[in-house]
């Protein structure tokens, strides 16, 4: 099935576009906006607004009929393994569990970049999504940067961690992989690997890599605290 944008009638392809060009308002600028829209596949573009938004810059609103159509039958997207749960759902499912989820996180090895671990654990969170500290159901400990694997293991064990977050931001010659693998192996060797959920995060990390390194999940760029919280709830709180 081929689909066009729906404006007022099936198949009219009507879209709106707003943008800025580095030109002061003029007849030439209006024509430039029109051609710019045409090059995006808009037929009969109507420049509805042209205003100076800064000196030498114009802001435009343009309507036009998009010529493009998508074949929706050709789309094959794997469904994501878990959607982020709402804050209320996360809290209520942990409440049912009867005790808080203890999470201990750190940037391990030589890594001094806590931006990732801070974004997930600290109250302030990331992109408007508050960190695990902000939930009643989580007890979050952020050990900060340059924590050695054995220190992290010892602290996590003494705090009774349900989950451990390892963050690896800056990496040279794949040291992030070696370091992470060494941590999961340490847990195996000491015999407590099965007692905790191990999570790995960082800009070079994806789920597949994390599994290969002996972790339970991997979180890459753009991960929000709510995604991590949702994963832990699904893992540790049983059926809703």
């Amino acid at each position: 099935m081929m689909l066009r944008a729906y404006g007022d009638r099936e198949g009219d392809g009507m879209v709106q576009l707003s943008f800025t060009l580095a030109l002061a308002p003029s007849a030439r600028a209006r024509e430039a906006a029109k051609r710019f829209a045409e090059q995006h596949g808009l037929r009969e573009p109507l420049v509805a607004t042209m205003e100076a938004c800064a000196e030498g810059y114009s802001y435009f609103v343009v309507y036009g009929h998009s010529m493009h159509a998508v074949d929706v039958d050709q789309i094959d997207v794997p469904e994501i393994r878990t959607g982020a749960l709402s804050r209320e759902e996360i809290e209520s499912r942990i409440k049912k569990r009867g005790k808080k989820i203890v999470v201990v996180g750190a940037c391990t090895g030589s890594d001094a970049h806590t931006v990732g671990i801070d974004a997930i654990l600290n109250y302030k969170g990331y992109a408007g999504d508050k960190g695990l500290e902000s939930y009643k159901g989580f007890e979050a400990y952020n050990l900060g940067a340059q924590v050695e694997n054995d220190q992290l293991a010892a602290r996590a064990r003494s705090l009774g961690a349900d989950a451990i977050l390892v963050s690896q931001v800056i990496t040279q010659r794949n040291c992030h992989k070696e370091n992470a693998l060494a941590f999961s192996q340490l847990a195996e060797r000491e015999g407590w690997r099965k007692d905790v959920v191990l999570l790995l995060g960082g800009p070079r990390i994806d789920h597949k890599l994390a599994l290969e390194l002996g972790f339970d999940a991997g979180f890459g760029p753009g991960t929000k605290p709510g995604d991590v919280a949702s994963f832990l709830v699904e893992r540790l709180c049983g059926e809703p």
């Binding site: 800064a54 302030k124 508050k130």
Partner: protein, 514 residues
Amino acid sequence: MAHVPMDEKKVASCRALAASVATDVQRYIDAHTSVGVERTMLRALGVEGLGAEGAPLVNLAVDRYQKAGLLDRGISFFVGRQLISGAKNVQDATERLAYAPDIDEPTSGPTPAEARAALAPHVTAALERIDRARDQREALKARVAPGPAPLKYVIVATGNIYDDALQAKAAAFAGADIIAVIRATAQSLLDYVPHGATTEGYGGTFATQENFRIVRTAVDEATEKYGRYIHQTNYSSGLCMAEIAWMAAVERLDMLLNDAMYGILFRDINMCRTFVDQYVSRRIIARSGIVINTGEDNYLTTADAVEKAHTVLASQFINEAFALRAGLREEQLGLGHAYEINPWLEDSFLLEVAQAQLIRQIFPRHPIKWMPPTKHKTGDVFQSHVHDAMFNLVGVTTNQSIELLGMFSEAIHNPLLMDRYLSLKAANYVYTTCKHLGEEIEFKPNGRVAQRAVQVLDEAHELLGEVERDTIWNAIARGAFADVKRTREGGKGFAGVVARGHDYCNPLLEALER
């Protein structure tokens, strides 16, 4: 005229409780210093530049004397001794402190009184630099007046200071009165101030003294061009809040984000460190005439904006008490609050009006800072624009002083050039079309708005009573503000706090306290 009931006795009682909270902390502050405070004094006495491996010279000198266990005497004492023993100037003296083969053991040689005498001309020069910048600002403002309230505040955050300067001018063209250059992510956690002009930054642009100068030049040009005084803002917060306050004072910034508790709650900076540093930063700010913007708006991004509205008011009283103890005038206190109630809640607009009006009345001389919705913004830019228009309506009706404009692309990206333009256009429209609305309306004496105002003040009063009884240290530990809990010795930067010795020497701070 719009007015909500306000129990004067209860307001006075809130102020008394907040004063008691601040007095308790002031005893601690007066007995301590920090590496940040000591570095600030070096900068103010005239030290500049970087030392070995790119670290600021002030860090090298202060860290060395802290490691030697001598910082309880005050770094100024050692600078004074170097001046007496032949250093050419304060810069040379500080280089000696950082690099001389031996630490200066103060068992013999010049006394603190002699060190003070040697430092006296440098202390005078530091004060004169602050005063000169203040006088320049006042002269320019007298010649080119600022726009009417609410002053329209916008943010630029490109990461490149030269782009920031360009965007600042573009914003002024579109009607902005205040330009804030947002800082690079996590600068607040750096225990040093980066140096020079910077063109790379994630989430914002580094606050450096050179970057301050570049933006000052740009907004001064805009001031002249558009015939309206354009203000410059940055952040005196984090582990270097006092150093940044000094840089801002001498580079003639107009406003600083500066809060007695924000770093503790939202950046997990140690509370002892924050209380000591905020005091010294505010002593400089007081002298410089800069207006501070406090961060209570943040409370409502983490805690519920209906249930926890009173925590904002309670914190404003506490921030005020701390600021007055550091010598600020009420006209310098831009206490913050925000339009963060769930917009789909019935009558949420009435609750926002009630709080904004109440705060306006309780703090009549304060340049109140009104912050836009962020928490309930989604990627729907059209709905977001309407949401901001309602926020603007409250701002102009309740006569807020400084309004950070909402952006319809909030929750998507840093504002584009046209986003900022459209936001300013909408604010100009609402301010103009509703200019005197606040003078024309009255709220029903026992109506929803009035009742809400009474409730918020009552709850704030109750909370302040608890905080006063428990002390702020314990109140923060149990999560009284923003639902965040912090311990007295936890958080970042505690190792940088030092108890002052009985012969602690800091003549510049003493001069600022006079």
